[in-house]
């Protein structure tokens, strides 16, 4: 494993760029992810954020939680807006209209904003090669509007528009693989992260910031409200997702796959450990869980193979 620069709390930026007093639910790991991302990016950052939980809880006029310049425009266009900020600044600096300076241009959106309604603008921005980072906070549903399914909702999860019922398992489609879609654009840096592994997360954000060109980071963001778990358990469920291989931590750095964390034999757990206790999976039968177990390991083994390739 490559040597990391953030491996203990003393390496972590002390300054907070996301103010306390925001209105997220208790135990929200999505807002924790926002806070960690900003710590890794530092002050010289401009954020464009999509409509969704994080936007609503951080910006009720006339209050704001943002200590870096921040713009919200609409639900589907954060990637386009930040690409406009980047283009504008690039021209202004090149023409000497404002002093040159390294700035992180960061688009942020939920899984709905990213994988569904904002897919076109995101793909366009990645393809155009802007020097930007796009962060997807994936809580696996449209939480802001009341837990509706998205294309990132996992198979078997019950949401308000994919309810489990006598004739339905709930979400009957497989989770859209945004990481592979982003990587298929041939952009220099793509990674997954989870705030339950804060150093790994911040390390990846730093790497994305140091990479010229577009970078994409997909963060599993546990949402106690939507997943129907106890607010005190968000960090625990993030760990369970990673240790059951449901959400592997890896990166695709200039095309090279690398698992940044491999659960040891001792830590590796069956998916049932992760699924049980979540209200959204309560209805699953043993055979459903077996199906999920098999699919999970198949995907993980593929990643293992890819990350072993030179």
């Amino acid at each position: 494993m490559a040597k990391t620069s953030i491996s203990s709390p003393k390496h972590v930026e002390r300054e907070e760029f996301f103010a306390p007093g925001h209105r997220a639910c208790q135990g929200c790991a999505e807002v924790l992810a926002v806070r960690l991302v900003l710590k890794a990016l530092g002050k010289d950052t401009i954020v464009a954020m999509a409509t969704g939980c994080m936007e609503i809880i951080s910006s009720p006029l006339p209050i704001t939680s943002w200590r870096v310049p921040w713009i919200h425009n609409a639900f589907e266009n954060a990637a386009a807006v930040i690409s406009g900020c980047e283009s504008g600044m690039k021209a202004l600096m090149r023409k000497g209209k404002i002093p040159a300076k390294k700035i992180n241009f960061v688009g942020m959106g939920g899984d709905g904003a990213t994988a569904d309604i904002g897919m076109g603008p995101l793909s366009g921005a990645l393809e155009r090669g802007h020097d930007m980072i796009y962060v997807c906070y994936d809580n696996e549903a449209y939480m802001n509007t009341g837990i509706q399914r998205s294309s990132c909702t996992p198979y078997g999860a019950s949401t308000t528009t994919s309810p489990a019922g006598k004739k339905s398992i709930g979400q009957h489609t497989q989770k859209k693989n945004m990481v592979e879609i982003a990587a298929a654009h041939g952009i220099p840096y793509v990674a997954t992260a989870c705030p339950s592994f804060p150093f790994d997360l911040m390390e990846k954000v730093k790497k994305a910031s140091e990479t010229a060109g577009p970078a994409y980071i997909h963060i599993l963001s546990v949402c106690p409200t939507g997943w129907r778990i106890n607010p005190s358990e968000a960090i625990k469920y993030g760990r369970l997702a990673v240790n059951s291989c449901v959400f592997p931590l890896y990166e695709v750095d200039h095309g090279k796959y690398r698992l940044t964390y491999k659960p040891s034999d001792k830590k590796l757990i069956p998916v049932s450990e992760y699924l049980k206790g979540q209200g959204r999976f309560r209805h699953l039968t043993d055979s459903d869980i077996e199906t999920i177990q098999a699919a999970t390991m198949k995907a993980y083994e593929r990643l293992l193979r890819l990350s072993e390739q030179e």
């Binding site: 010289d44 006029l61 310049p69 921040w70 713009i71 504008g88 021209a91």
Partner: protein
């Protein structure tokens, strides 16, 4: 470029104006009849004649979104579209105005689908009438060139801070070759100095833009928006006045032609104005007391100027290039003008014609028919609703 007169396509003249304005970002998506404008702009960038980022976006929705991002960091921003493109970007078109993001759009007016049509009418701009953009109509190539430049001065004025749409009739203007008097680059630079925007996004002065509005504050935010558009009015006049001082070409929110003793007037927006003037000249020779009222500034609506031009006439024949489906009262221009005059002393009656949909030609002969028939209708009191001119059996 030094001051020169050149015979060029109006689309090319727009791109030249944008070059002279030293724009920083152009984001646009191809759609007929706007394409020549952005094609030429990308050429200017490729040849190094314009130092700008040309962002070849994935859709018009993204074009407007990129423009919002670019304007938010204080970069001079231009875009251009038509019909379906405007419809697709309409969500963000409203947001751009609400967030007070200055930018200039050349809107090559085209009919909205369906049926699909690439030709001209005003159904596209009327769809976003209430978005809060400054909205100008031009009637020939020179006016287009001039007003693209004036638009930047209006948009970026710190007292205004609004996006501006310059409306020009698709094909009828965009694809026409006209003699254009280009002003000197230096004159344009002095007319349009770039200044840093006060609350631009920058890490040295963090601001939050586009916050969420609870009911306690939404109403006030909307009033603020309304005042923003209304209060832009004197600054729009200033921008035109300064341009007139520099070039000798003057613009007014409402312009009149042979109206001094006119008992009745034809009211137009956009390229209709040119034909209307010719026909009025002919009718004047026949002894008709007729004039033309042209509405150049559609938003903010020049209520006082319009009333001044209209009151005391016997009737107005108002030309529309769009239908307010099911409104049962007339096209968008006529309904607005009727309401502007309602209950006023000396208010003329209004006869409304909708014509020229999807570029159907409205010739001098048609104008003559419309004017004379409209006058007769007014005399008979047939002033309700509208007539769809030239409708075939």
């Amino acid at each position: 470029m030094a001051k020169t007169r050149k015979g060029v396509e109006v689309s090319i003249a727009i791109a030249e104006a944008v070059r002279q304005a030293d724009v920083d970002v152009v984001a646009a998506y191809p759609i007929t009849p706007q394409t020549h404008i952005v094609e030429h702009l990308s050429e200017l960038v490729a040849d190094g004649e314009l130092d700008a980022e040309f962002v070849p976006v994935d859709s018009e929705h993204s074009a407007m979104s990129v423009c919002c991002g670019s304007a938010a960091v204080g970069a001079r921003t231009f875009t251009s579209t038509s019909a379906q493109g405007l419809a697709l970007m309409s969500e963000i078109y409203f947001i751009a105005a609400a967030m007070r993001l200055p930018m200039v759009m050349a809107l090559a007016n085209r009919s909205l689908s369906s049926p699909l049509s690439i030709w001209n009418d005003h159904s596209d701009i009327m769809m976003v009438r209430d978005a809060g953009w400054i909205c100008i109509f031009v009637e020939n190539g020179q006016e287009t060139y001039d007003n693209i430049l004036c638009a930047f001065r209006m948009a970026e004025n710190p007292e205004v801070m609004l996006p501006v749409a310059v409306n020009l009739d698709g094909f009828i203007l965009t694809h026409m070759i006209e003699p254009i008097l280009y002003e000197d680059d230096d004159l344009v630079r002095s007319y349009l100095p770039w200044k840093p925007m006060k609350n631009a996004l920058h890490p040295d002065r963090p601001v939050s833009m586009g916050c969420f509005g609870m009911p306690e504050i939404y109403t006030e935010a909307q009033m603020n928006r309304e005042m923003g558009v209304r209060n832009s009015y004197p600054h729009i006049l200033d921008a035109w006045e300064e341009w007139g001082r520099l070039t000798g070409r003057h613009y007014r929110p409402v312009e009149t032609y042979r109206c001094e003793d006119a008992e009745y007037c034809i009211v137009t927006m956009g390229s209709y104005g040119e034909t209307a003037m010719e026909v009025v000249d002919m009718l004047r020779e026949e002894g008709e007391k007729v004039g033309v009222i042209k509405i150049r500034l559609w938003r903010p609506f020049p209520l006082e100027e319009f009333r001044k031009a209209a009151l005391g006439r016997k009737c107005l024949i108002v030309m529309d290039r769009a239908i307010t489906f099911g409104g049962n009262q007339g096209g968008p221009v006529a309904t607005e003008l009727r309401s502007a005059l309602y209950g006023m002393d000396g208010a003329p009656s209004i006869v409304n014609y909708v014509a020229g949909l999807a570029g159907r030609d409205v010739s001098r002969k048609d104008f003559r028919n419309i004017i004379l028939e409209g006058k007769a209708k007014a005399a008979k009191g047939e002033v309700d609703g509208f007539t769809l001119y030239g409708l075939r059996g």
